[in-house]
C-alpha cells in the first residue's frame, strides 16, 4: 500500500476499535475485567478486537494481515491505554504479525499456520522471555539453548496461562526463538497468584526435549529478540501514555465542576499548576511514542531499540506520576473505587516495570550510548 493508504486504513481501524470499545469496554466492563483472574472475563473483548482486525495490523498481507507494520499499533495502544483495554492484547497484536513479517522465508509450515491462526484471533499467543526485566532477572530467570533446544524457566510470562502458542526467547550465548504449542509434554505453565493489574501471569518451564517449532537462531535470533523487545517496549509506552491521557483528562474535567471554598477547585492556582504539569508530561509521553514510531522504518535496529527504550523510560516515569497527580486533583474520591481512576494508576504501575522501568532503562541506554562511542544510539 502507498503511505497515504496505510494511514487511511490505520485511522479507519482505530475509529472502528474506538466505536467497539464505546459499546463493549465501558468503565463497568473494564472494572469487571480488570480485577479478574479469569481469562473468560475478557474473552468477548479479545474476540471483538480479533473480528475488527486488530491482530492483523502488522501481519503481512500475504498472511491475511493488513500489512500496516507495527508502527500502526502505536496509536492503537495509546487508545487501549485510554480505555483500559488489558489482557493478552499486546502479545496478540504484535507477535504473530511481527514474526510472520520478519520470518517469511523457510518458516516452519506448522509455525506459519499457528501464527496465521493467531492473526485472525483463532489462537492466543504469549511471550516467554526472561528479558522482561534486567534488574529483576533473578525473578524472571530465562530460557537458553540446551543440547536439545530451548529449555529453562521464565518466572513471569504475561498471559501465558491462556495461550495456545508460546513464543520462546532464549537469550543466552546461543540465542534462539521458537514456538511451542500448549499444552505439550515437557511444557509447564503454572499460573501465578496476581494482584489486580489488568494482566495475568504464569511461570513457564520448558523441559529438555519439548517439541518446539524453531523460528530463528544465531544472529538472526539475536536481532529478532532485540526487535521483539523494542516493539514491546514501545507499545507498553504507548499504553502508558494513553493511561496518563485518560487520567489527566478525567482530573481536568473533575476540577472544573468540583467546588470548594465556593468555587471550582480548578480556579486555584495550585490545582491549575498540577494539571498543567501533568498535561505537559502527557503530551510529551504521547509525542515520544509517536516519534519512535515515525522513526521505526528509517532507523538501524540498535538505534530503534534505543528510541523504544527512551520512550518506555519516559512513559514509565511519567505515566504513573501523571496518574498520581490526577488522584491528588480528585481529592479523597480519587483514591476510592467509586471512580475508574485508581485502575489507571494500578495499571500504569504494573506496566512501569514490565520490560524495564525508567531506572534500568536509563542505565541500559547509557551503556548502549557508551558502547557506541557517544554517537547514537
Amino acid at each position: 500500500m502507498a503511505e497515504h493508504e496505510t494511514t487511511a486504513v490505520a485511522l479507519e481501524l482505530r475509529d472502528a476499535v474506538r466505536q467497539f470499545l464505546d459499546k463493549h469496554a465501558t468503565d463497568d466492563d473494564q472494572a469487571r475485567r480488570f480485577d479478574s483472574a479469569d481469562p473468560a472475563d475478557s474473552a468477548d473483548l479479545v474476540q471483538g478486537l480479533a473480528d475488527l482486525g486488530a491482530f492483523a495490523v502488522c501481519a503481512p498481507e500475504s498472511a491475511d494481515g493488513l500489512g500496516l507494520g507495527p508502527a500502526a499499533l502505536v496509536p492503537l495502544f495509546t487508545l487501549f491505554g485510554e480505555r483500559l483495554v488489558t489482557g493478552p492484547v499486546l502479545e496478540q497484536c504484535l507477535l504473530p504479525g511481527l514474526l510472520l513479517e520478519q520470518l517469511p522465508d523457510g518458516l516452519d509450515p506448522r509455525a506459519g499456520a499457528l501464527l496465521r491462526d493467531a492473526v485472525v484471533g483463532e489462537r492466543r499467543v504469549a511471550l516467554a522471555d526472561g528479558g522482561a526485566s534486567l534488574e529483576w532477572r533473578d525473578l524472571l530467570q530465562g530460557l537458553e539453548t540446551g543440547p536439545s533446544g530451548i529449555e529453562g524457566t521464565v518466572g513471569m510470562a504475561r498471559s501465558a496461562g491462556e495461550a495456545d502458542v508460546l513464543v520462546l526467547v532464549a537469550d543466552g550465548p546461543e540465542p534462539a526463538v521458537a514456538l511451542v504449542e500448549a499444552p505439550a509434554p515437557g511444557l509447564r505453565v503454572d499460573p501465578i497468584e496476581i494482584q489486580p493489574n489488568g494482566s495475568r501471569f504464569a511461570a513457564v518451564t520448558v523441559a529438555p526435549g519439548t517439541t518446539l517449532l524453531p523460528l530463528a537462531e544465531g544472529e538472526a535470533a539475536r536481532r529478532l529478540i532485540v526487535r521483539i523487545r523494542a516493539w514491546t517496549r514501545l507499545l507498553l509506552a504507548a499504553e502508558l501514555a494513553g493511561l496518563a491521557r485518560r487520567a489527566v483528562d478525567d482530573a481536568v474535567a473533575y476540577v472544573k465542576v468540583r467546588k470548594q471554598f465556593g468555587k471550582p477547585v480548578g480556579t486555584f492556582q495550585a490545582v491549575k499548576h498540577i494539571a498543567a504539569t501533568a498535561t505537559a508530561r502527557t503530551v510529551v509521553a504521547e509525542n515520544v511514542c509517536r516519534a519512535a514510531a515515525e522513526d521505526a522504518a528509517g532507523l538501524p535496529l540498535e538505534e530503534f531499540s534505543a528510541a523504544a527504550m527512551a520512550a518506555k523510560a519516559y512513559c514509565s516515569e511519567f505515566g504513573p506520576s501523571v496518574c498520581e497527580d490526577a488522584i491528588q486533583l480528585h481529592g479523597g474520591i480519587g483514591f476510592t473505587k467509586e471512580l475508574p481512576l485508581h485502575r489507571y494508576y494500578m495499571r500504569s504501575l504494573a506496566l512501569r516495570s514490565w520490560y524495564g522501568d525508567e531506572t534500568e532503562l536509563s542505565e541500559a541506554l547509557g551503556r548502549a550510548l557508551l558502547a557506541a562511542g557517544g554517537t547514537r544510539p
Binding site: 522482561a132 526485566s133 534488574e135 529483576w136 533473578d138 525473578l139 524472571l140 513471569m156 501465578i192 497468584e193 496476581i194 494482584q195 493489574n197 494482566s199 501471569f201 467546588k259 470548594q260 471554598f261 465556593g262 486555584f268 495550585a270 490545582v271 498520581e324 488522584i327 491528588q328 481529592g331 479523597g332 480519587g334 483514591f335 476510592t336 473505587k337 467509586e338 485508581h342 494508576y345 494500578m346 504501575l349 504494573a350 516495570s353 514490565w354 522501568d357 531506572t359
Partner: protein, 389 residues
C-alpha cells in the same frame, strides 16, 4: 530516643511495657472487616484493663495521667512487638479529649469510660461531599425541635462508620452563610433511627471509610458539646492534637516498616548467599533516610504537645512532611519488588502484598486529613506571613 524538653527517664516504663507485651497474647488481625473490628476492639479492652489506654488522659477521666513521652514510648513498644494499635483512636485522640475539655459532667461520666475501654467506638462526622478541604462550608443541618435537634445531611470519609456506636458530628446551626460561626458539635448515637451508612471501597480494597446519611435524625439537646454555634473551636482544638498523635504513630509504623523490609531482604540474601545490588541497597537506604528524618521531626512535635498544645502552623509542617516522606518511604520499598508487584509472590524476601498495599495507601497521605495543598497554604499564610489572596 533522647529529647530536648526534659523528657523523663522512660527506661522503667518501657521495660514494664515490653514485659507486659511479651506475656500478652498479641492478636492476629483478620483481613475481613467484621473480624478485624471485633479483634481490634477486644484488643483495646485488653490494653485498657492493663492500663495502656488513655495514657496521657487525666485520672479523673479514666486515664493514666502520664506524659506524651510515655504514650509515645508505649506506642513504640506496641509497634515493635508487632501488635496493633487500639481501634478507638478517633475516640482516644479527638473526640474523647474534646468531651473531657468542653463536655458536660454528664457526658464525661457516661461516655468516657466506655470510650476508653472500647465498649463504644466513635466515628467522626466532619467532612461532607461538598465540604472537604473547606470544612467551614459544611451544610448538614441541625434544627432545634423541643428537647432535640433534628439532623439532616450527609457526611463522608467517616471511618468505621458501619461499626461505630457514637459519632462526633459537626452540624450547621447558623445561617447558610455563617461558615465557622454557625457550626455546633453534637454527639450522636449511631443506632438512632434515620442514620444509614454506605461504605466507600478504597484502592487498597479497604472499606473502613464510609458515607453516613442523616434523615431527620433526632439528637437530644443534652448531647450538644459547648454552646450552640460554638462547635468550630472545639473541633479545631483537638484536630491539632490529633494531627500530632497521628504524626507520631505513623512515624513509628514507618520506622518499623523499614526495619521489617530490611529484615526480609537480609533473610533472602543470607539464604541465597548473594549480595544486594546497588539499587536495592540505595532503595532501602532512601527509605531509611526518610524514616529517620521523620523521627527527627516528630521529636519537635512531642515538644510542642508538651509545651504549647493547641493549633500551630508547625502542625502543617509536620503533616506535609509526613505526606512527603510516607510516599517516599513506600515508593522506595515497593520499587524493590520490581515487576513482581503484579503478583503476591515474595521478591527477594519482600512481602509483595504488604509493600504494594502500603504504597497504594501512601498515595492517600497527601489527601486525607487535609491535602498537602491545604497544608502549604496554612504554612505560607500563618507561618511565613505571606499575604492572603
Amino acid at each position: 530516643m533522647s529529647n530536648s524538653v526534659h523528657s523523663p527517664d522512660l527506661g522503667e516504663y518501657r521495660e514494664r511495657a515490653r514485659d507486659w507485651l511479651r506475656r500478652a497474647t498479641i492478636p492476629t488481625v483478620p483481613l475481613d472487616l467484621d473480624g478485624r473490628f471485633r479483634v481490634l476492639r477486644d484488643w483495646q479492652r485488653t490494653l485498657h484493663e492493663a492500663g495502656w489506654v488513655g495514657i496521657t488522659w487525666s485520672r479523673d477521666a479514666g486515664g493514666q495521667a502520664l506524659s506524651p513521652w510515655h504514650q509515645l514510648a508505649f506506642s513504640e513498644e506496641l509497634t515493635r512487638a508487632g501488635a496493633p494499635q487500639p481501634i478507638g483512636l478517633i475516640g482516644l485522640d479527638v473526640v474523647g479529649p474534646s468531651i473531657d475539655k468542653f463536655g458536660t459532667d454528664q457526658q464525661r461520666r457516661t461516655l468516657l469510660p466506655r470510650l476508653l475501654s472500647g465498649a463504644d467506638i466513635w466515628c467522626q462526622g466532619f467532612s461532607e461531599p461538598d465540604a472537604g478541604s473547606d470544612l467551614a462550608s459544611l451544610s448538614t443541618r441541625a434544627v432545634p425541635d423541643g428537647d432535640d435537634f433534628v439532623v439532616d445531611g450527609q457526611k463522608v470519609w467517616t471511618s468505621w462508620a458501619p461499626y461505630a456506636q457514637w459519632c462526633a458530628l459537626l452540624v450547621r446551626t447558623g445561617d447558610t452563610g455563617s461558615r465557622h460561626r454557625g457550626i455546633s458539635y453534637l454527639l450522636v448515637d449511631m443506632s438512632s433511627p434515620g442514620i444509614s451508612v454506605r461504605p466507600l471501597v478504597q484502592m487498597t480494597g479497604d472499606t473502613e471509610f464510609g458515607e453516613v446519611f442523616f434523615d431527620s435524625v433526632r439528637v437530644p439537646r443534652a448531647n450538644l458539646v459547648g454552646e450552640v454555634d460554638g462547635g468550630w473551636p472545639i473541633a479545631q482544638d483537638t484536630l491539632s492534637t490529633e494531627r500530632g498523635w497521628y504524626t507520631l504513630r505513623r512515624q513509628i509504623e514507618f520506622s518499623v516498616g523499614v526495619q521489617d523490609a530490611a529484615a526480609e531482604l537480609c533473610g533472602h540474601y543470607e539464604q541465597a548467599g548473594a549480595s544486594p545490588s546497588a539499587r536495592v541497597a540505595a532503595g532501602l537506604g532512601r527509605a531509611a533516610v526518610a524514616a529517620r528524618a521523620l523521627e527527627a521531626q516528630t521529636r519537635r512535635t512531642i515538644d510542642r504537645l508538651v509545651t504549647s498544645p493547641g493549633p500551630n502552623p508547625m502542625d502543617s509542617v509536620d503533616k506535609l512532611t509526613v505526606n512527603e516522606l510516607e510516599q517516599r518511604i513506600f515508593a522506595s520499598l515497593v520499587d524493590l519488588v520490581g515487576p513482581g508487584r503484579t503478583t503476591t509472590t515474595a521478591v527477594r524476601g519482600l512481602d509483595t502484598s504488604r509493600w504494594t498495599k502500603e504504597h497504594y495507601y501512601s498515595r492517600a497521605a497527601s489527601i486525607y486529613g487535609g491535602t498537602s495543598q491545604i497544608q502549604r497554604t496554612i504554612i505560607a499564610e500563618r507561618m511565613l506571613g505571606l499575604p492572603r489572596g
